[in-house]
Amino acid sequence: MSLLSRYAEDLFWLARYIERASNLARIIEMHMAYDRGRDEDVSWAWLVALHSDQERFAKSYGDASFANVIRFYVADLGNSGSVRFSLRAARENARALRAVIPTEMWNHLNEFYNRFLIVTDSDLEPIRLWRTCGQIKDGCYAQIGVAESTLYRDEGWRFFRLGLMFERADQTSRLLDVKFAQLATGMEATAQAADATFWSLVLRSAAAYQAFLRLEHKGGDPNRVARFLLVNASHPRSVAYSVMQIQAMLHDLGSGYGHRQARFAQEKVEVLFELLQSAAQEPDLVTRLHEINDNIQRSLIGLTDELGQRFFGAAPPDPTPPPDEAPSQTQSQSQSST
């Protein structure tokens, strides 16, 4: 018996939302833990710019103070890009999947979510925030681990992995664009020494700091950091690694399970992969990151639509070109249960 289209889509989005919450939590955690010496009241507008959320943020908050930005991204259910929204969406997807995913996955997510529901304002204060975010991140890691340990390896598993890797490619690619977002929001260009701190923070935000040091003893040359996060084949959060995993999953679906419609997505992934390879050749990669991120985002949106059409049974989307700056994609309204 083949997998229900709705299950495929829900598994894809379950993983995406978990991965999204974990990335956001890690970025905040790392900035709280390692970015000492900045003025907390002025330095968080970049997070809004990074997610292209300026308009939505301004509508409900105005001032991009530390407290406002943190509230918007951690606790605000009205923000479809917040940790809280992502976890709830993940849980709603899991709820719709409860008959098919192992009870261990649901139990863990449900407990994790119930714990998160009792997060209070004081958990969002600077002194506690890194711990709060660390717990969220760990909860997400654990959910992915439970899936790895218990989820049946049929097509459903491939869609779960696809969601995970789509979101990971998306998030790491965005992370490389932080510098642009910071400059764009009026933060001053940093001195050479501070720049090294900045790039080590980017690495930490991708959980890649230690792996990078093992490879590059001399530390953070910005171009090398960017190249590592973009095309390193062995780090589980690099864009290239994620894209290779996407390739592998599509190959399984196409050749292993005979879903020949996977080839349309496979072709698009080839193009994305070439884009990464040529980016890696750039001598001054750092100056091109904003443009590269745009291209990756566009490509991922196209791929998500491709899956929607070929596997999830969605009507073909409007052929309007994707916007220049893409906010995080959310599950389509018709399928979303939130």
Binding site: M1, S2, L3, L4, S5, R6, Y7, A8, L77, E92, R95, A96, R98, A99, V100, T103, W106, N107, N110, E111, N114, E155, G258, H259, F311, G313, S337
Partner: protein, 487 residues
């Protein structure tokens, strides 16, 4: 050796004057119940309370909940669970099992008859208007032959026990009886929370319900289909019983689908999968008749699938339960079930009915109005315990209002004597006290009937209350059917 009085959970327990499910038996069965009673008594109340609290936390975190949706969020609530089990001896269970099986058989024969030749109406055993004028009678079903003649594949029989300990049927549930998930989950919970209470006891298992259900539904697959594709059709995550739907699909190993996952083409049913459309042969549906097929019934239904009735009529689809079974579990038709058993099976009913007065008849109405303060009055069309007036406990104002309602629409009411439901020790506010219980065994029928040992024991948590429905503050208990004692 005597234990200190403070540690005994049952030291103040007094069930009188009701039949007690833990202490009420005499003769050879008294020894069996005494073993469990002693164990329970040996636990102190504080331990019981601690374990009860842990068990409720577990239910919440496992998501064994029903969900109440508000504008802003989904609120998960657990059905209150009482940790003190309800016991049935092997002899008692044999009686219930054969009685339920007999009853389901008669109801299925009745449904076949009224949707075919209507012999029972011609023979004058039951007033035709009670059947043909019933809102749940579906003329669309006339002439349709469900496989094995089974209409009610899943049935829940609500059974109570009177002061003398005799079992009586209070109600049949032949549409989509719910609650079986709690039977299985309650057992799992008890096994974790009270291994010491169960140790060495031979309690009949309940965890193979899903397997049995698949087996029975396979028996009633459309003709010519050997390995049927079975699905469970749910209204979706917003339904308050969604947990049960998940549970059933999971235990059966079948897809849990919603209306939007299915489509009918050329009178055949398909589901949308990543490989395209795949055939579906049997649907265990948890959507009411009205909302099941907008083409045949309620046009506004967004939950159903257009064309299911067509597919069923063509013999390409088995719906479980069949459409139109609601006429058989109607509270007024209920009064005739003992007659149906004699008529179709030429047997005496194994399980008694509760004496019932149909206000739609002249004698029934007269009797009811004359004895209003002694009777329990029930609206025919309601379920979930709504609208019930318990005469002996009602105020004069309530009785007067009830009288006016009956006089305005007699056919909508029945009355029954107040049954002194049996009680079971129950942990309430840190004390073990008697509380009234009922029992809903689940019968699954394909070619033949299988009854899940035990069933759902519902308990009225309010002191003195006789209404066990969860919507009226009821909870549940694990039900232990003891194996035959080795002789």
């Amino acid at each position: 050796m005597t234990e200190p009085a403070a540690s005994r959970s049952l030291s103040d327990y007094d069930p009188k004057p009701f039949f007690c499910e833990l202490t009420g038996r005499t003769g050879s069965e008294a020894a069996e119940q005494e073993r469990i009673r002693k164990r329970l008594d040996g636990m102190d109340t504080a331990t019981l309370m601690r374990r009860a609290r842990e068990a409720e936390n577990e239910l919440f975190n496992l998501g064994i909940t029903f969900t109440v949706y508000t504008d802003k969020d989904a609120i998960d609530r657990i059905l209150p669970f009482d940790v003190i089990p309800r016991i049935l001896t092997a002899r008692e269970w044999r009686h219930i099992e054969t009685g339920v099986t007999q009853r389901v058989k008669a109801l299925n024969l009745f449904l076949w008859d009224i949707y075919h030749d209507q012999k029972i109406l011609k023979d004058g055993l039951i007033p035709p208007e009670l059947v043909l004028g019933n809102g749940n009678y579906r003329p669309e079903m006339i002439g349709l032959d469900p496989p094995c003649g089974t209409y009610i594949h899943i049935n829940g029989t609500d059974i109570v026990r009177n002061r003398e300990g005799a079992f009586q049927v209070l109600e049949d549930n032949g549409r989509a009886p719910s609650g079986v998930s709690y039977v299985v989950e309650n057992r799992h919970l008890m096994q974790r929370a009270f291994p010491d209470l169960m140790r060495g006891l031979k309690v009949r298992p309940v965890s193979d319900y899903g397997e049995q259900l698949v087996r029975k539904l396979s028996e009633v697959a459309p003709a010519g289909i050997d390995d049927p594709s079975i699905v469970l059709l749910s209204p979706g995550v917003y339904n308050s019983a969604y947990f049960e739907h998940i549970f059933l699909a999971r235990e059966m190993g079948v897809p849990l689908v919603e209306g939007r996952d299915l489509i009918v083409e050329n009178d055949k049913v398909f589901m949308r999968t990543i490989s395209g459309l795949q055939a579906v042969h049997v649907i265990y549906r948890r959507i009411n008749d009205d909302f099941l097929d907008p083409e045949a019934f309620n046009k506004e239904s967004m939950l159903g699938v257009a064309g299911l009735m067509r597919a069923a009529r063509k013999g390409n689809l088995t719906l479980a339960n069949a459409i139109g079974t609601g006429v058989a579990d109607d509270k007024a038709v209920y009064a005739y079930v003992p007659k149906l058993i004699r008529y179709y099976l030429s047997e005496d009913p194994i399980l008694e009915n509760v004496e019932t007065h149909i206000c739609g008849t002249k004698e029934g109405l007269a009797f009811t109005l004359a004895h209003l303060a002694e009777l329990v009055i029930k609206p025919v069309g309601e379920s979930g315990g709504y609208g019930i007036v318990v005469g002996p406990k009602a105020s004069q104002i309530e009785l007067d209002a009830c009288r006016r309602q009956i006089e305005a629409d007699p056919a909508n009411f029945i009355s029954q004597p107040m049954i002194d439901l049996s009680v079971c020790p129950t942990l309430v506010d840190g004390q073990v006290e008697p509380r009234h219980v009922d029992l809903r065994p689940y019968a699954v029928t394909g070619q033949s009937t299988w009854v899940l040992p035990g069933g759902l024991s519902r308990v009225a948590l309010k002191r003195g209350s006789l209404i066990v429905n969860s919507s009226q503050g009821g909870g549940t208990k694990d039900t232990w059917v003891l194996e035959e004692a080795a002789s």
